[in-house]
């Protein structure tokens, strides 16, 4: 196996620094031909940076890259394409108003007399689609495609360019469990056709299910490479974090007190269809308990949370927060009694162009501590932000001056969670709180949420991860088509049963009692 010509790609002794801070330190990564090789590491450990070096977006400060055994220079994405290396980025790079086909051929157009030869492209793509099971409607505009389909367009884009080294940077972070399963199957198909694949994910079960080997990096340093068949989740977590990790959540039975949030017969309109997105939903969350909303995404959870936090108008029904009717209240009024970890971090949670200090103060800048006569107190803000960064273990190369856009997704999430939990509100609403974060951070976030519960906070969590729901919840509400289909006790239910409620195969009759 040591024959170097078996390697499709070798990255040897790679160094890289940003702002004089090393983010990659002597990293070696070797991809064998025809294997699925996973890259695992905490948020901010440098996975994306390493891949961007391979794809020519960044240049390594030191080290060597070999392709099929020959040393190569990769200075830009065109060089990478010429070497048949393709990448699906963490955030898609598609033109919304173009069709799937147009997006795919963009930059690699077959033309004759300056006109696009769409027929040639279509023929080739139809072949690829049926070969790998990549269902995509080529004539649909990107804006009309869901996340899973967009991702398949990105994959087709790579295949259309005849790439045979394929980089997937956290592709499953945005997918539903069903879509994830499809993607893993596509990856297996690609491998069977002889493609070499680099796969980044924080979900250990996925990595173990699909990859041949796993390379672990920690804080920019190479830790080791193991065969997937010879390892398990616990070992991988420990390699990655460098200490033992509690994968299970430790919590005592809840001891609920007074209701903090009461929702009665809530109805919200849908932006997409005639049917109500949230239809006659009633429940309550009491102090000292964690209520978790399970459901396949798109069943009204987003609208429900937006309505509760004031981002979406309520059609009918009533919302009581700490005993006050806040049904019609503004976001600002509501946030006096709740903190909100939003579903879409980059849309609502952070401002990408702002630095960390300004992002950490988003909820507090009007408080007297941070302003005087309408002028911001910069020093107080920086000090506050530094405290949040410290307490939540947010990795960033430039301290409070780091621009959000330059930070890894998981660290953005840690910062948002730190900011929101520091608000110290009686109700905490968290949607997908651990999306895209590594196991070490998940452990930390789960611990914090349970801690808040034990401090007497009411906690409402919406999650697409069943395992997360089961671990955290004191009570489970399952949403299906805008209604609460089932109210379950995590101690008494099973994954299978929740799955049936989520799919709509099982549904409880509405009780007279509106809550619980």
């Amino acid at each position: 196996m040591d024959n170097m010509h078996d390697h499709a790609v070798e990255m040897l002794h790679i160094d890289k620094a940003f702002n004089d801070q090393k983010v990659l330190d002597d990293i070696t990564f070797q991809l064998e031909r025809g294997e699925i090789h996973a890259l695992l590491g905490e948020n901010g450990s440098g996975k994306t940076t390493l891949m961007r070096i391979l794809f020519g977006i960044f240049k390594a400060d030191a080290g060597e890259i070999k392709r099929d055994g020959a040393t190569v220079e990769i200075n830009n994405a065109n060089d990478a394409t010429a070497l048949k290396i393709g990448m699906v980025h963490q955030h898609f790079e598609l033109v919304e108003v173009y069709t799937a086909l147009e997006n795919i051929v963009l930059g690699a157009e077959d033309t004759r007399h300056g006109f696009l030869r769409k027929d040639l492209a279509r023929k080739k793509l139809e072949g690829l689609i049926s070969n790998y099971g990549l269902a995509v409607d080529l004539d649909e505009k990107i804006e009309n495609l869901n996340v899973g389909a967009r991702q398949r367009v990105e994959i087709l884009k790579m295949l259309y360019r005849d790439n045979d080294v394929l980089i997937f940077d956290e592709p499953t972070a945005v997918l539903t469990p069903g879509e994830t399963e499809e993607l893993l199957q596509i990856m297996r198909n690609l491998k069977a056709e002889g493609k070499s694949i680099i796969f980044i994910s924080h979900k250990l079960n996925e990595l173990l299910a699909v990859s041949d080997r796993i390379t672990v990096i920690r804080k920019g340093k190479y830790i080791g490479t193991v065969r997937a068949a010879d390892t398990d989740e616990q070992t991988l977590s420990e390699m990655m974090v460098g200490r033992s990790v509690q994968l299970e959540v430790v919590k005592t039975r809840s001891n609920p007190g007074e209701p903090v949030l009461e929702v009665k017969h809530l109805v919200c309109a849908s932006a997409f269809s005639e049917k109500n997105a949230v239809n006659d939903v009633s429940f309550r969350v009491r102090a000292g308990e964690i209520v978790s909303i399970a459901g396949i995404s798109g069943n009204g959870q987003t609208e429900l949370i937006y309505a509760l936090t004031g981002l979406l108008p309520v059609k009918s029904g009533q919302i009581l927060l700490c005993g006050q009717d806040v049904t019609e209240s503004t976001v600002r009024k509501k946030s006096e009694n709740l903190s909100h970890i939003p579903e879409d971090r980059q849309k609502h949670g952070v401002v990408m162009e702002f630095n960390l200090a300004d992002n950490m103060i988003l909820r507090r800048y009007r408080q007297d501590r941070y302003q005087k006569a309408g002028m911001v107190k910069k020093d107080a803000i920086r000090e506050y932000a530094a405290g949040i960064i410290e307490a939540n273990d947010v990795l960033c190369t430039g301290g409070v001056d780091s621009v959000m856009a330059g930070m890894s997704g998981g660290n953005q999430q840690k910062a948002v969670i730190g900011r929101e939990l520091d608000m110290d509100r009686p109700l905490i609403i968290a949607m997908y709180p651990t999306r895209g974060v590594d196991v070490g951070a998940i452990e930390h976030i789960h611990k914090r949420l349970v801690q808040e519960r034990d401090n007497g906070k009411a906690v409402l969590i919406a999650s697409a991860e069943l395992s997360e729901v089961m671990k955290l919840a004191d009570r489970i509400l399952v949403m299906h088509e805008g209604e609460i289909a089932g109210r379950l006790d995590p101690e008494k239910t099973t994954y299978e049963e929740i799955g049936l409620y989520m799919a709509g195969a099982k549904k409880d009759e509405k009780e007279d009692e509106w809550y619980e």
Binding site: F18, D61, K347, G349, V350, G374
Partner: protein, 387 residues
């Protein structure tokens, strides 16, 4: 501090490159014209090139016909005078940009400000009301008119999600026609000089003019007055508002991410309208400061054209890196170019169009400052981190 120095370099160098490229282009253009036009000698080209850069320091020609340079109070004063409205429209565009809005409506806001302040300055008789009070009212009137004119596209964007660029262009032309409508046949038209009816009375005719504040002593023979001081003070205030105040923080927040602003409890619709009102008010004040110098004549029949100073706010803002302090300098630079152009036309065989072209090129290049900055940062990222 190293970081601050870097930020300063990253913002000023691209603007300087754009300006320099424009001037080099201008010089080359002058050389080509010189080679093609038998009336212009190489000496004439050399004179023209020097005037292009330091025309505002020109003192005419000596008896031998050589250009003389030195302190010229008239030119410098006029440069400051012409910079006044440019700084204000530049501030207007910059403030809107910070809030994520492209205020191409500055010409209309300027025109409405101009109209309002002239009407107030001329309609209230200074015989019965103190001129100083009329002056203040005219300034405020210009500000309010500009603000209202800015709020219209703001409100349309906020509530109907209509792109502000389109509505700004529409409101510009409405302003142009409205202004003409107001003045047509009015008593404000100056008919005292036979054959000349295209202009309004100067506000000085009613005794309303901005105080000179001793600037006429420093810059004798020029039109400069306290307006430039007011513009600079407003620029400094805007600097603090945008980068240090809660209001500016919210404007930038809405400009960068409207959804996040909503999430933070900001009423983003109100914020858009407010930002456009501030932008409009700044343009309106610029118009008032210009017209209340007392000595400018307004050609009232504007329905077919928009004031160039409104559009030039865009390059002033861009070259000034959207920084109010930077805008002070770029406003002065643009007005200096105008003075230089006049000098070229007066003292050489070139005509004034050549400077219009050069200004046009610099305007065009100002749009590239962001690109140049991107290239600079990219190069640093690739090369600078090597040990």
């Amino acid at each position: 501090m190293n970081k601050n120095r870097n930020r300063f370099l990253y913002s000023t160098v691209p603007s300087l490159i754009a300006i320099l490229a424009g001037l080099v282009f201008g010089a080359i253009l002058m050389l080509i014209v010189c080679l093609m036009d038998k009336n212009i000698t190489l000496g004439g080209f050399w004179d023209g090139a020097r005037l292009l850069i330091i025309g505002f320091l020109s003192k005419g020609r000596d008896e031998l016909g050589n250009l003389m340079f030195g302190y010229n109070g008239t030119h410098l004063g006029n440069m400051l005078f012409k910079a006044t409205p440019l700084i204000m429209t530049g501030l207007s565009v910059a403030a809107a940009f910070k809030a994520g809005l492209f205020n191409i409506g500055a010409p209309g806001q300027y025109l409405m400000g101009l109209t309002a302040s002239i009407v107030i300055a001329l309609a209230i008789p200074s015989a019965s009301v103190p001129a100083g009070l009329i002056l203040v009212l005219a300034l405020l009137g210009g500000m309010v008119a500009g603000a209202v004119w800015g709020m219209i596209p703001g409100a349309l964007k906020a509530y109907l999600n209509v792109n502000e660029v389109i509505t700004c262009i529409l409101t510009n032309w409405i302003a142009a026609n409205l202004s003409t409508l107001i003045f047509e046949g009015s008593a404000f038209i100056n008919n005292t000089e036979p054959g000349k009816s295209g202009f309004l009375y100067k506000t000085a005719a009613n005794g309303v003019e901005l105080p000179k504040a001793l600037l006429d002593k420093v810059f004798p023979g020029s039109q400069v007055n306290s307006g430039i001081i007011i513009a600079v003070i407003l620029a400094v205030i805007m600097y603090f508002v945008i980068s240090k105040s809660i209001c500016g923080f919210e404007m930038r927040l809405c400009g960068s991410n409207r959804e996040a602003a909503r999430y933070c409890g900001i009423n983003e619709n109100a914020n858009i309208i407010m930002s456009m009102a501030i932008a409009g008010a700044l343009a309106g004040i610029g118009a008032a400061l210009y017209t209340l110098s007392g000595n400018t004549e307004f050609a009232w029949s504007t329905y077919q054209k928009l004031p160039q100073v409104g559009f030039n706010g865009i390059p002033v803002a861009l070259l000034g890196c959207l920084n109010p302090i930077g805008v002070i300098f770029t406003g002065m630079f643009m007005s200096a170019l105008e003075i230089n152009g006049q000098q070229i036309a007066n003292l050489t065989a070139y005509n004034e169009y050549i400077t219009s072209i050069i200004i046009g090129v610099i305007v065009y290049l100002s749009a590239f400052t962001k690109y140049i900055r991107g290239v600079m940062m990219h190069r640093r990222k690739k090369g600078g981190t090597k040990k």
